[in-house]
Symmetry: C2
Subunit: 417 residues, 2 copies
C-alpha cells in the first residue's frame, strides 16, 4: 500500500487501482481478524475446542468429520483451562489460569473478545438463560459475573466469609437451574448459592438482582465441586478432612450434609500427586463413580443413599472418571507419573475391560454426546486419539500441540457443564 | 422480464439494463429456492421447528430470541408428524403421515430434499453416527433406511413376522447405541433390534451389513415404544393386552419381559380417545411417569424394579407426560375433548401444582434443554405459548398456523430422540 499512496493517480485507471486497493485492504483486514479459512454455512452442533496449553492456543474441531478447522491463538496461560458454550453453540468462553476470559467465535475462527478479569482464576460457568458468564478466582478470590455478549462486568461478588473481612479463593463453580450459580469457598469452608435476576428485555445485560444464600461450615477446604446432570445435587470435595459435602438444591432448607465421611486421603497416607477432578464424576444409573483422592481406587456410590457400594482397584491415582453418555463405561485417567495409562471400567460389573497406554500425559477425555466416540488428549504425543466406544479400537489420531482439555458444543445444552 | 426481452437494446445503457436483469434473475432464482431471508452466520444450537399440520408447513424458530425465522412449505400431510436432527444440528428430517420424508436445511430455510418413501408412515429415527435415517411404515409396513446426506434408499427391511409371509405395521422406532434401531411389529407382536454396519469411509452411504435380532411374542399389538435416555431400556406399550413389554439392551440374552401386567385399558372400560404417546415418558430420578391408557391417571413406576409406585389423578386421559430436563416437573396434556388443559405435576410430591387452560388443541410440549422454558402448541389459538418453568408464567405468545409438534435441535445430541 505505501507505494500506491505515493502515486498521484490522475489517469482513467484511477478507479480500478482504487478498487484494487480496497479489495486488498478488505482482504488484509479480514486476515488480521482471523488466520482461518472457515467453511461458509457452518452449522455448530458438532463443533468443539481443544486446549493447547503450552502455546495459549485453541483448536476448533469438528467431531463428525474428525477434523481440525482452525487454530486460534493468543489466549494466554491455558494450563488448567476449561470452557463453556453459548446456548446457540456459536461461542466458546475459555477460562485461563491467568484470569483471562476469552470469547471465541467458532463460526469465524477468531477471538471475539478477551479480558483479563483477575490475577488467577480456576474456572467458570454460563447461566441457564445464556446471558451471564461467572468466573471463580483464586486471586483476589470471589466471583465475577460478565455479560455473555460483550464480556462487560455486571457483578463482582467478593467471597468474604464468616464474620471476618477475609476473602476466599472460590472453586467448584457450576450453573444450576433457576439461573443460579453455586460454588465453594476454599478458605471459608462455605458453599454459596447465587441467583441472578433475569431481565425480561432480551438485549439487557445488566442484572436486576443478585441473591446470595450462604451455607457455612460445610467441611474443611472444599477444593472442587460438581452438580448432578439434573441440577439437583451439588457436591463439594474436601481437602481438609474426610468425606464430601452435599447440598440438595431441592431442599436447601436442610442445609448441607456430609457424605462418605469414612472416606478420605488420610487412611493410607499416600502422597497425592494431583487432586482428582470432580467435574468428571460419572453417574451411571444409580451409581456415581468417584476418583478417590490419593488412592488407587474408584469409589462406587449409591446416588439414593449416598453411601459407598464398592471400590474398584485401578492402575494408579485416578484424576478423571468419566461415564459414557450411554452409561456403559467409565473411562479413567491417572496422575503423574502414571498419566500414560487409560482404563475402561464396565459400569455394571465394575470390571476393567480395557487398558491403553497410548503415550504420556493423558490429560482429558470427552465423549461425543450420543456415545459412539471418546476423544482423548495425549499431551506428550502432541495428539488427540479418538476411540470407538463399541470396539474400543482407535478411530483416528489428530495432531494437536500439547493438548489438554477437550470440550464439545453439545455441552451448551447440558445443565452444569 | 418480458418487457425487457421485447426491447432491442442498442444504446449505451444496454450493459446497465442487462445488469439489472441479471440482478433480478438472481433475486428471483434465490426466491424460488427459499422465501426466507435467513440471517447470515447463523449458529444452529438454539434452533428448532414447529409443525403446522394443516398447511403442510414448518416454522424454523430460535429458542433464545423466541422468534420465528422462516416458514418452509410443501411438506405434504403433517398430521402426526415428527422430526429428528442431523448431528451438526443443521438439518431436520421430518416424517409425515403420507410417507413423506423431508430434509430441511435450517441454515437456508428451505427443503434440501423430499421423497415419498411409502404410502403411510408413523415416525423415524437417525442412527448414532448420523449417517442413516430409518422410517417405520404402516403401509406397506416394514422399515426403510435412507442415507442422511441424499435420502437415497440404502436398505428396505420388510417386517415379515413369525413363520408367515404376512408383513406388519412397524411402530415405536428409536435409535439405540451401537448404531442400532429398535422397533415393534404391531401386527407381528415382535420387537426387532437392527444393527447397521458402520462404514469407515466418512462419505460412504452404503451399508456394510444389517443384522436383525428378533424378539417374538412380546405381547399383543405393541403400538408405540420408547427408549430410556441412556439407550438401555426399550419399552413397548401394548394395545392388545394389559402391561408393557421391556427389553434390556444390555442383556438381550434375557429376551423381553412383561412389566406392569396388572395395568391396562381393560379395568375401567373407559373409551380411549387417543392412545398416549410413549416418547413423552418422563423419567425423573428413579421414577418414570406414564400416561395411563384410557384412565384419568399418570402412573408412577420405579425404574429399578419396573413396578408401580403410585397413581396420580389427573384432569382427563393423558396424552403426553413430559419431564423437564431438571426433573422437577411433569407436564401433562390430554385427549379430546379435554385437550384444552395442561397440568403440571411436582415430580417429588406427585401433586398437581398448576393447571392451565390457554386454549383448545394443546398438542405438544418441548422443553429448552437446560429447562428454563417449555414451548406449548395450542392448535386452535394458532399459537405457541412459551412458559417459564420457574414462575409458571407465560413468557411469550408466538403465532403459528395450527401448530402441533415442536422439536429443538438439542435433540441432535440425545440418544433416542
Amino acid at each position: 500500500m505505501p507505494r500506491i499512496k505515493r502515486t498521484v493517480i490522475q489517469n482513467p485507471l484511477r478507479r480500478i487501482i482504487f478498487s484494487a486497493v480496497a479489495v486488498y485492504a478488505l482482504l488484509f483486514s479480514s486476515l488480521s481478524f482471523s488466520d482461518c479459512d472457515m467453511p461458509k454455512d457452518l452449522p455448530t452442533g458438532d463443533l468443539g475446542i481443544i486446549i493447547e496449553r503450552m502455546d495459549g492456543s485453541v483448536l476448533i474441531i469438528n467431531n463428525s468429520s474428525l477434523s481440525v478447522l482452525c487454530r486460534v491463538e493468543g489466549l494466554g496461560d491455558l494450563s488448567h483451562a476449561s470452557a463453556v458454550f453459548s446456548r446457540n453453540a456459536r461461542y466458546a468462553f475459555v477460562f485461563g489460569r491467568d484470569g483471562g476470559l476469552t470469547k471465541i467465535d467458532l463460526l469465524k475462527g477468531k477471538i471475539s473478545k478477551r479480558i483479563l478479569q483477575s490475577g488467577n482464576s480456576i474456572g467458570g460457568a454460563i447461566s441457564q438463560d445464556g446471558q451471564y458468564i461467572a468466573v471463580s478466582n483464586y486471586e483476589p478470590g470471589g466471583v465475577n459475573v460478565f455479560a455473555a455478549d460483550d464480556l462487560s462486568l455486571v457483578a463482582k461478588i467478593p467471597a468474604t466469609y464468616g464474620s471476618s473481612t477475609l476473602t476466599s479463593k472460590t472453586v467448584g463453580l457450576v450453573d444450576a437451574p433457576g439461573n443460579q450459580f453455586v460454588y465453594s469457598l476454599y478458605d471459608g469452608n462455605e458453599i454459596w448459592q447465587v441467583k441472578i435476576g433475569r431481565k425480561t428485555g432480551k438485549t439487557e445485560t445488566t442484572i436486576s438482582s443478585v441473591d446470595i444464600k450462604k451455607y457455612r461450615n460445610v467441611g474443611k477446604a472444599p477444593y472442587d465441586g460438581l452438580i448432578s446432570a439434573n441440577g439437583r445435587y451439588y457436591i463439594a470435595g474436601l481437602f481438609g478432612e474426610d468425606g464430601l459435602s452435599l447440598l440438595d438444591l431441592w431442599h436447601t432448607e436442610k442445609g448441607t450434609r456430609k457424605i462418605l465421611s469414612h472416606y478420605g486421603k488420610g487412611q493410607k497416607k499416600l502422597p497425592v500427586y494431583k487432586m482428582p477432578h470432580l467435574e468428571g464424576w460419572a453417574i451411571a444409573g444409580n451409581h456415581a463413580f468417584l476418583p478417590a483422592v490419593g488412592l488407587h481406587e474408584v469409589l462406587v456410590v449409591d446416588t439414593d443413599t449416598w453411601k459407598e457400594v464398592s471400590r474398584i482397584k485401578v492402575h494408579s491415582q485416578p484424576v478423571f472418571a468419566m461415564a459414557s453418555p450411554d452409561d456403559r463405561q467409565i473411562w479413567v485417567n491417572f496422575a503423574f507419573p502414571d498419566n500414560n495409562t487409560l482404563q475402561v471400567i464396565d459400569s455394571e460389573t465394575f470390571k476393567i475391560i480395557k487398558q491403553f497406554q497410548p503415550g504420556k500425559g493423558i490429560l482429558h477425555m470427552e465423549f461425543t454426546p450420543r456415545s459412539e466416540h471418546v476423544w482423548v488428549s495425549v499431551r506428550d504425543n502432541d495428539e488427540i486419539i479418538v476411540y470407538d466406544t463399541q470396539t474400543l479400537e482407535e478411530v483416528k489420531h489428530i495432531p494437536a500441540k500439547k493438548p489438554s482439555g477437550i470440550f464439545f458444543t453439545s455441552r451448551a445444552h447440558r445443565i452444569g457443564l
